[in-house]
Symmetry: C2
Subunit: 167 residues, 2 copies
DNA sequence: ATAAACTTTCAATAATTATTGAAAGTTTAG
DNA sequence: CTAAACTTTCAATAATTATTGAAAGTTTAT
């Protein structure tokens, strides 16, 4: 496999994985393009490379910046803006986990808490709703906590020792 | 909050979370309905409760069965089929993690391996592609392994000790 | 065998989500 | 100040994905 083929394969695979996990294709592809680029890219370069429109590029770059995984880079003497992504996979995972937790998991945990706190009126169906949503609440909270802790850690020693422990 | 409101809130929240993570709404809602039901439900009951068509119900029930989280239950004397979901959250998480790993993560890991194994032609861009996809490969593999181990374990003691360790 | 009770399939349609492109907005250089 | 270089916005459109409903298929009871 040659460079060009490998590059295209990587970008398109990443795009499909994104889609599968609720992240739009263009967004995932822009990020992956930056991830393997040796230098910051301009909007023009991204558009050309991925064959997507200016508007699309602009909007998705913004979202990536909102997620904290892409940053603008100002190159002295250049009028246009250049973009880079976080290059360290650990940091990247940290950002993504943190954001998904904040935006998606935490709000659901809150609702599970509310729902599982309704008054027990003694009927079987109410008891079941309370029991099941409570179990889900606890699981979600545990998973969320673990996720964040693992991903936030000064990483290496702890992850490695964890891995050893559970392997 | 009354039973009915809590129930609707739970089902619709679960549906939206599903959507956000690439799972279709009807599928997530059917599962959540079964999850808080005190008994197995027929197709008719599911359709009525969620206001979805017969075809939609049938197809999504099938998918849920493919995922291994819903099973048919034959009730003696009844002609129609009844459905239940795995009621234990731990088991539920196990099934989902296992399937997503098998269907989505493992294939991507394979591609990352291929891409990161291309011949190093000495250029900076090839070196970067190799380095970055290799890092992603290692991260994905570690995360996948951890996930599966954690979720597969006889659970309680190990999860609890992990939590203590990283808290 | 056949009719009733039920489920599955799938082409048509609807709903949702992503993408375009051009107009409006902003910033910088002269 | 104003023109050029660039970015953002957003209504229109395209692409994708979900849903319907009715016909075809299957199973069971008689």
């Amino acid at each position: 496999m040659e460079y060009q083929e490998a590059k295209e394969k990587f970008i398109s695979t990443w795009g499909s994985l994104g889609t599968l996990w609720g992240i739009n294709k263009a967004m995932a592809q822009i990020q992956s393009l930056l991830f393997i680029s040796t230098k910051a890219l301009s909007m023009e370069e991204i558009m050309d490379e991925l064959k997507i429109s200016r508007g699309n590029t602009s909007m998705n770059l913004r979202q990536l910046m909102d997620w904290g995984i892409v940053t603008k880079e100002l190159i002295p003497g250049e009028r246009k803006e250049f973009f880079t992504t976080e290059k360290d996979v650990q940091e990247l995972a940290r950002h993504i986990a943190k954001e998904r937790s904040r935006r998606e998991i935490k709000p659901v945990i809150k609702i599970l808490k509310d729902v599982s706190s309704i008054k027990d009126d003694g009927t079987a169906k109410t008891k079941e709703l309370i029991k099941q949503t409570k179990a889900l609440h606890d699981l979600a909270e545990t998973a969320d906590t673990m996720m964040n802790k693992i991903v936030n850690q000064e990483q290496n020693w702890i992850t490695k020792s964890l891995l050893k422990l559970i392997k």
